[in-house]
Amino acid sequence: MRKGKSTITLANVTKRFGDFEAVSDVTLAVEPGQVVGFVGPNGAGKTTTISMMMGFLKPSKGTVTVLGTNIEPQTSHSVHGSIGYVAGDMVLPGALSGRQFLAFSAARNGRIDERFNSLVDKLQPVLHKPLKQLSRGNKQKIALIAALQHAPTVLILDEPTSGLDPLMQDVFLDTVKDESKRGTTVFMSSHILSEVSSVCDRIVFMRAGKFILDKPVRELTSQLGKHIVIKGHDVGKLAKFLPDSAKLLYKNANEIRLSIPSANIKTFMRWIVTKEFDDILIEDRDLDDVFHELYGGKTK
């Protein structure tokens, strides 16, 4: 039952575990071909949201739709053949070899031989050993091949690179980028913002069960502006007189840190050169700064 053109929709979805509300009335639409980064600290509700998309959990309220199918535990299997799913903490059956596990996945979801061979060539997985004997990275390679060998329409990734070494992370993200070029819709949760900004074209921030920011990555990065550190004797008093466009992030007597939109940087520079200070450091802000601002941590 096709409900609209969006690949994934969440409509006023809530998930409660007893008295605890893990996800609170969230709404989202992911369009075909979009690569969405899903960001938030531990306990924000990311895995719970993804678990409802996969049909592992039933929403307490609202509806989840993937590829036009209303996702419930008893119906989700009907779209699993079009979804590739990888989680960072995914547990593979230890008694099977990689080849056996992939054969089982292929029997259920399908396999395109040419694609399977190219994934094996690219990722070089260990196929003959029991999965319980493999390292985390090698298990993730098997999980990724299982998720991609049937050329899924949607890729749902739940912190897929957690625990992987940087080299393996790069291989993993390259593979995801290849998928997005193919037109696959990707929904990827992560708290590694560099990987989100390198792979995704849209980013959704989640905090305490709610979506608090949902923007295209390009728009977000263009609005990030600059991060400025001013040092000098008694510069702390300048904080009172900052231009409206500047946002004070930190101050003490001899140092202030602030952020400012790129569009206002010239005005700010004209203002600051009239003041006394010893040193000034100006750098581009990145998604880590947004993350820290949204979640109340320190900026770098």
């Binding site: 959990l57 008893q74 547990v91």
Partner: protein, 264 residues
């Protein structure tokens, strides 16, 4: 080999099956090696004369130990087989259900194109085939033991006992399996599995000697596993019907619950 969850589960459980096969084969063969001591010695005759009626209720009629048919029915299939099969069924059902959910393997399995009902049925079929395989091993062990003793082979009785034990074993396995897959709760699975196993044995054993327990004995699963009547007659249709009704009820509960519940 890996095309279905049924064959995959059987492959994953191959060492479990091998280990329990040794237990069942050794148990049946070993028990039969004691048959000459029971059938030939005068002690059993003495026991028969002096045993109080209440004790006879607990350990059964000593006369039955004097024929190979009676010995097989009472010493292998009346006590040891149901107890072993219930313990094995509990271990197997926990392994197939709550252990996989606790480790996260059930989520991985639920991410493929496989309906919850089919997932449950294929796992249950795999468990039931393991129960049947172990009963075949026990029957083979019985054959080996009887041949070693040079006694005539009671083919029909062995196959009847094996069939009844298989049906009983499937039901005994299905109860904790259904609780495990229906709830995902290890404590509930272990509790109900142990209550059914231990409770059934205590009820059936003591009901023979304790009058007030007699009315409650119908609650024991072992009550519907009557090996003694198989020696002389056919299967009790009433007993088989009760076992099948229990099986149907627990599987229906499991399917309804598992289709709609959250997977941890």
């Amino acid at each position: 080999m890996m095309r279905t969850l049924l064959t995959r589960t059987l492959y994953e459980k191959r060492w479990f099956l091998a280990g329990w096969s040794v237990v069942f084969a050794v148990m049946t063969t070993l028990v039969l090696l004691f048959y000459p001591s029971f059938s030939e010695g005068p002690a059993i005759d003495e026991l028969t004369k002096t045993m109080p009626q209440q004790l006879r209720g607990l350990i059964g009629d000593p006369d039955q130990y004097k024929t190979i048919e009676g010995f097989i029915a009472s010493q292998i299939y009346d006590i040891r087989m149901p107890l072993l099969i219930m313990i094995m069924g509990l271990v197997l059902s926990v392994g197939l259900t709550v252990r996989e959910e606790e480790t996260g393997e059930l989520r991985t399995l639920s991410a493929v194109k496989l309906s919850r009902t089919r997932l449950l049925v294929e796992k249950w079929l795999a468990g039931s085939l393991i129960v049947i395989a172990l009963n075949l091993v026990a029957a083979a062990g019985t054959y080996v033991g009887v041949l070693a003793l040079g006694e005539p082979l009671p083919h029909e009785l062995i196959w009847r006992l094996m069939t009844l034990s298989s049906i009983f074993g499937i039901v005994a396995f299905s109860i904790p399996f259904s609780v495990g897959i229906g709830s995902g709760n290890r404590a509930a699975t272990m509790f109900i599995g142990l209550v059914v196993t231990v409770g059934s044995f205590l009820l059936t054993t003591f009901a023979k000697a304790v009058d007030w327990l007699k009315d409650w004995e119908v609650l024991s699963l072992v009550h519907y596993y009557d090996t003694q009547s198989l020696k002389s007659g056919d299967f009790s249709q009433a007993d088989i019907s009760v076992l099948l009704v229990v099986l149907l009820a627990v599987l229906t509960f499991a399917i309804i619950r598992f289709r709609s519940r959250d997977i941890a």
